[in-house]
């Protein structure tokens, strides 16, 4: 297998250049431009029907773009049929061949290459061992559990040593516990093999835990592409902020802008100071976005910390085990959700329903978004 190399920021491995794909009148992918780097664990994230699978199938060669080009290693692969592309895919249904054994399934792809028998056998054995499937080599797919089938599907594609490995919702069929475990395993596998992984998911946590970079898609268009932390902490648009995680959005008008800060006048929380990020001008109508876990909640009168604070009435508490979410009706118009870790095992909460509370957050907790 290829030596592990650091994600290079040089020439991209895959490049979508203004790619569009229509099905009849329905536009599945629209003017899509994206670079995927070598040895990267890349996630395509978006709601159902936003074109993630279509994008993957364009890359695998099962669909051809109506407009634009797809480059692999600098070469246009648009005219290449799927069986000539150095790209392999793991299907959501796994698509294991029911008439072949586990070993037969894994060897299938290598049989299509002119490889010496010995080498083929060795590579199959290696791959089965890596996936801990060697003892099941002679079983048929229907004699395996869901998790085992998934590993066979992985082995079958990876044994081909593709330049890009595509995974379409690989974990959707697994239960939550196995899914979390497999996420880690996939990540380790990717680092070990040094193959570029492109994974499709509509589960944002999954994308966050696994990917080096995430492309968030909306209605066939690219909404934002960045590292997970960047996507979460610095969303470029209201849509991304709302799609990835929970967020409080407060309407306001920019009253002052300097090198460090943007000052926003809001009806809900008065004057808010937000660090410079997305460009805004004086007089713009904007949204101030604050993640629920960045806000501290305390009974009114307790000392507030941070640069911004606002008061209101606690309306509701949702208990999630590790944390609770507090719904607060602000004195001004609107309300906010605050999430707080449950440190104590006793049933005590910060405040009880109906009590007056003060919310506070540091100046750099919020971000300005265009409305």
């Amino acid at each position: 297998m290829a030596e592990q190399t650091i994600v290079s920021s040089g020439k991209p491995l895959v490049r979508f250049e203004s790619v569009s794909k229509r099905f009849g009148t329905h536009v599945a992918v629209e003017n899509f431009t994206l670079d995927i780097r070598r040895n990267e664990f890349f996630a395509l994230l978006g709601p159902s029907g936003c074109g993630k699978t279509t994008l993957l199938r364009l890359l695998a060669g099962f669909e051809t773009p109506d407009e634009g080009r797809i480059l692999l290693d600098g070469e246009d692969i648009g005219a290449l049929p799927p069986y000539l592309r150095p790209v392999n895919m793991m299907f959501q249904s796994y698509a294991l061949f029911p008439h072949l054994s586990v070993a037969g399934n894994v060897a299938f792809g290598l049989k299509q290459e002119a490889l010496p028998r010995e080498e083929r056998k060795q590579r199959v054995a290696e791959m089965l061992a890596m996936m801990r499937m060697d003892e099941f080599a002679d079983r048929k797919p229907h004699q395996l559990s869901g998790g085992q089938r998934q590993r066979v599907a992985l082995a079958r594609a990876l044994v081909k040593r593709p330049k890009v490995f595509l995974l379409d919702e690989p974990l959707a069929a697994l239960d939550k516990k196995l899914r979390t475990q497999t996420q880690l395993e996939l990540r380790e596998l990717q680092k070990k093999l040094g193959v570029t992984f492109v994974i499709v998911t509509h589960d944002q946590e999954e994308a966050m835990t696994m990917a080096d970079r995430i492309a968030v898609m909306n209605g066939g268009r690219l909404a934002q592409v960045a590292a997970p932390r960047e996507i979460y902490e610095h969303p470029k648009s209201r849509w991304v902020a709302e799609f990835v995680g929970d967020v409080n959005l407060i309407e306001g008008v920019v009253s002052a802008v300097d090198a460090q800060e943007t000052v926003v006048e809001t009806a809900a929380a008065g004057q808010m100071r937000v660090p410079q990020g997305n460009a805004a001008h004086r007089g713009d109508r904007v949204l101030v976005a604050i993640r629920p876990e960045k806000v501290a909640i305390a009974r009114e009168g307790a000392s507030a910390h941070g640069g911004n604070s606002v008061s209101g009435i606690l309306r509701d508490i949702e208990y999630f085990g590790g944390s609770s979410v507090y719904k607060v009706k602000l004195d001004g118009p609107g309300s906010m959700r605050i999430s707080s870790v449950n440190v104590s095992r006793k049933g005590e909460t910060v405040a009880s329903k109906g009590e007056r509370v003060t919310l506070s957050w540091s100046a750099d907790a919020a971000a300005v978004l265009a409305q």
Partner: protein, 294 residues
Amino acid sequence: MIAIKSAFKTKAKTAAKTAAAPRLTSISRFNIAAISAGLAFLYLPIAILVLYSFNGSRSVAVWGGWSLRWYRELLHDSAMIEAAWTSLGLALFSASAATILGTLAALALTRIGRFRGRLPFSAMIYAPLVLPEVIIGLALLLLFVAVDFDRGFWATALAHTTLTLCFVAAIVQARLVDFDRSLEEAAMDLGCSPLRTFLTVTLPLIVPAIAAGWMLAFTLSLDDFVIASFTTGPGATTLPIRIYSQVRLGVKPETNAICTLMIAVVALIVVTASLLSKRYAMSGERAAALGAPM
């Protein structure tokens, strides 16, 4: 018979809801009687034919003890043996031709998507399923006369291919319709050209249906009397025609023997075909279970 059986089953079920257990057993006893009557209705004539083929007596109506005499005699009836070979050859040829054409038709109907004229094409393929055989036979006869094609073995072989093709197409198409297309895409993704994909993935998975189709075509051709009587000519007498012409001169015990042999061959093939299609149905279920999320 099955219809009768299930009708009584439903009756038994509704009765079970209202009546006590004894009534239920009496109904199921009635049920058994009904099934026996149905079976007797269907198979008694055949059973008598089979029984009398082992009759030692020359007279058809008198039982003269067990004997294989008529089977031995059959070996010396060269006309009958020749007819048997003709029928076998016809069945082999037409079943194979119909299987190839029928499979191709099924592939075209399921794989090419919505091509122009797909609906009329599928309607036309399945027309012989419902058309009376007399009409097919007559139509083919007119065609062969019009193009001046000699009636005989090859004319009948073509006619049987026409007749049985639609059965093969129907069986294979049923299999292809619930075939998971992502299997074929996976094969292509792993480096198979479309042809190799067909040979290594599609074909092995539909081969039970193709085999079942071939066997059905084989028995249909073997059994056919009506169409063959239009299309065959001198020197190409099929077994059913030979038997019929013999019976017209009076039923000979020998006829019972040849009919028993035919029944045995057809029964064997039908049982094999139904086992095959059962196996395919099971593997289909498994494939579906594989695809479904847990």
